[in-house]
Amino acid sequence: MGEMEQMKKEAEALKTQIEAARKAVHDTDMASAASGVAPAPRVQLKTRRNLKGHLAKIYAMHWSTDNRLMVSASQDGKLLIWDSHSGNKVNAVPLKSSWVMTCAYAPSGNLVASGGLDNMCTVYNLKTPVIKTVKELDAHTGYLSCARFLSDTEVLTASGDTTCALWDLETGKQKTVFLNHVGDCMCLSLSPDMNSFVSGACDSLAKLWDIRDGQCKQTFLGHTSDINAISFYPGGNAIITGSDDCTCKMYDLRADQELITYQDAALNSGVTSLALSMSGRLIFAGYDDFNCNIWDSLKGEKVGVLSGHDNRVSCTGVPPDGMCVCTGSWDSFLKIWN
């Protein structure tokens, strides 16, 4: 048997062993363990702000840590910084490439980043008298699907070239490359303690990575199509994923397995984005069918829906203080709800 064949067999055998190890610790399921928990009430939210300003599809948005400012990215070639309270635009950043797929706000509030089909992550300084490009992070060989700041000196990216990378903003170079996915990486989420992150990809897998040693620690199976959205639970012990297979799933990191699937026979649109309420009890998931559905994360039931967009909901975000949820859409509007 050739070496390659040998290794493929070994890989399959290891995967089978991993599944067996997961079954061995599966001594109860979510339905039983959460049976004593009262169901979440029906959630009915009002649109508090309708943010108009973009001239084309909105692809991404990200809250600032101040719970007030947010950045949005549109294929009209602009990043807009909004004061969500007043609804005013604070800044507009013209992009070199209008094919933007992601944007991010640094925790400090000093920097924002964007990236997309240009394969680059561009970082801008908002605090200089005129907004300046600080760095162009150029090494990915595929589109940039997601970027997140760890600090003003480190950025994590996910790319269509199947890798994720940790960049040093001072040198503009990749410090660590995270290799293990076999499909385009579509999304990433940082752990609350900043020591690890999870990524979702077109290989239907979610992976947990150690930021410092670059290793893939755990792989989560179950989805049957691209994972477009992923988020860490606020407590750090679980993750939620959203996929083109029209479902969201919760995976427990310590038990290393899927606990619950959020699905509905009537729902046959892919999940594009998701965000969690501050306790993690509610999942706000954006779908291709123009809605954002609200799920009770412990009971697996739909408890509300946000309708109002005239096109696909492409991004959702809850600020750190949990006071509202923002949805962004291909209809070019952002809405703030609570």
């Binding site: 995967k15 363990a33 620690k217 606020p234 407590g235 427990d252 501050m278 993690g280």
Partner: protein, 67 residues
Amino acid sequence: MDELDETQLKNHVDSLKQQLQFNREKTSVAIPELTKWIEEKINEDPFLNPDVLKDNPWVESSKCVII
């Protein structure tokens, strides 16, 4: 896996060996801890505790006055 070359496949196998070693917790322990964490935070969650949303930055707190 068919797209991987020999080095990538070897790394893949090594990674799977590492992942197999992970010390898995029983779901009967992990799930209750997860639900406990959430339940403790529910009081602070503006979507689940209306009191927290009393000071809603997106709602006018005073009525309009006709002058």
